[in-house]
Symmetry: C2
DNA sequence: AAGCTTACTTACCCACAGGTAAGTACCTGA
DNA sequence: TCAGGTACTTACCTGTGGGTAAGTAAGCTT
């Protein structure tokens, strides 16, 4: 193991920012936490249709390492863990917003479909 | 092969935008073209220390497919090809700017090094 | 006629991102 | 007593992103 890193060296700022966002589900996790404020592990899993438990945890751990996500453990049974964005994570989400709008426009432009996130009618 | 794609379906806008930016050198190419306006193949290669010719072309082709980059061929010998950003590419770069600043701040925060892009004293 | 230039193309290879699936510990409800 | 829910952990496997390096076409220079 001993992967992780994400400490450069980088070519430029975008490079450094991308390093933290790269990962199939990271931006989605950011989005999910931003919208719900606080989510439990299983809630996140249900909110990201297709994610495997392994990748979800791995990404959450890395984002915690990077200071984007806060992990709150409640010592109960059954276990309860709540994830939320840190200030830093919120700030990242903020600068991602314009990119998100650009992407939404791109979806219109190329007529891309949206993944059905139905179910979660909660 | 027949890879490429980059047509969704996507979970959200960020997802759709990331799809176009993902690739080790794409954001750097965007940056390079943004700063120089127009660059020849070999100039780009020199501007992105470490990039292989294969990846550079592959990325340029994909970005052309995606409408971000314009490729102008001059039928001369030796061959001359100029790459530049399209309006669409420029607009992507614009929304990436805040992300770039966030990344620059992150580099300060974690004390990351910058890749030396010396040489290119041109 | 050999060599240099540019802009690729092609074949081959490896590391790693990410998926699948089973296992763990603990308690609750049927 | 046993399935079910929580939040993971671990082992294993595969696809592919990206690297290396050699080859190609065409004309100019020496």
């Amino acid at each position: 193991m001993a992967k992780s890193a994400r400490r450069g060296p980088y070519f430029c700022g975008i490079d450094a920012a991308m390093d933290v966002v790269t990962g199939k589900w990271k931006s989605l996790i950011l989005w999910e936490l931003h919208h719900h404020g606080t989510r439990r592990f299983a809630e996140l899993r249900r909110g990201l249709p297709g994610v495997s438990e392994k990748m979800l945890i791995q990404h959450l751990r890395e984002m915690e390492e990077d200071g984007l996500v806060h992990r709150e453990v409640y010592r109960e049974v059954p276990p309860k863990v709540e994830y939320s964005l840190t200030e830093y994570g919120v700030s990242l989400n903020a600068v991602l917003a314009p990119l998100g709008e650009w992407g939404t426009e791109r979806m219109r432009r190329i007529g891309a479909e949206k993944v059905s996130v139905n179910a979660v009618t909660t």
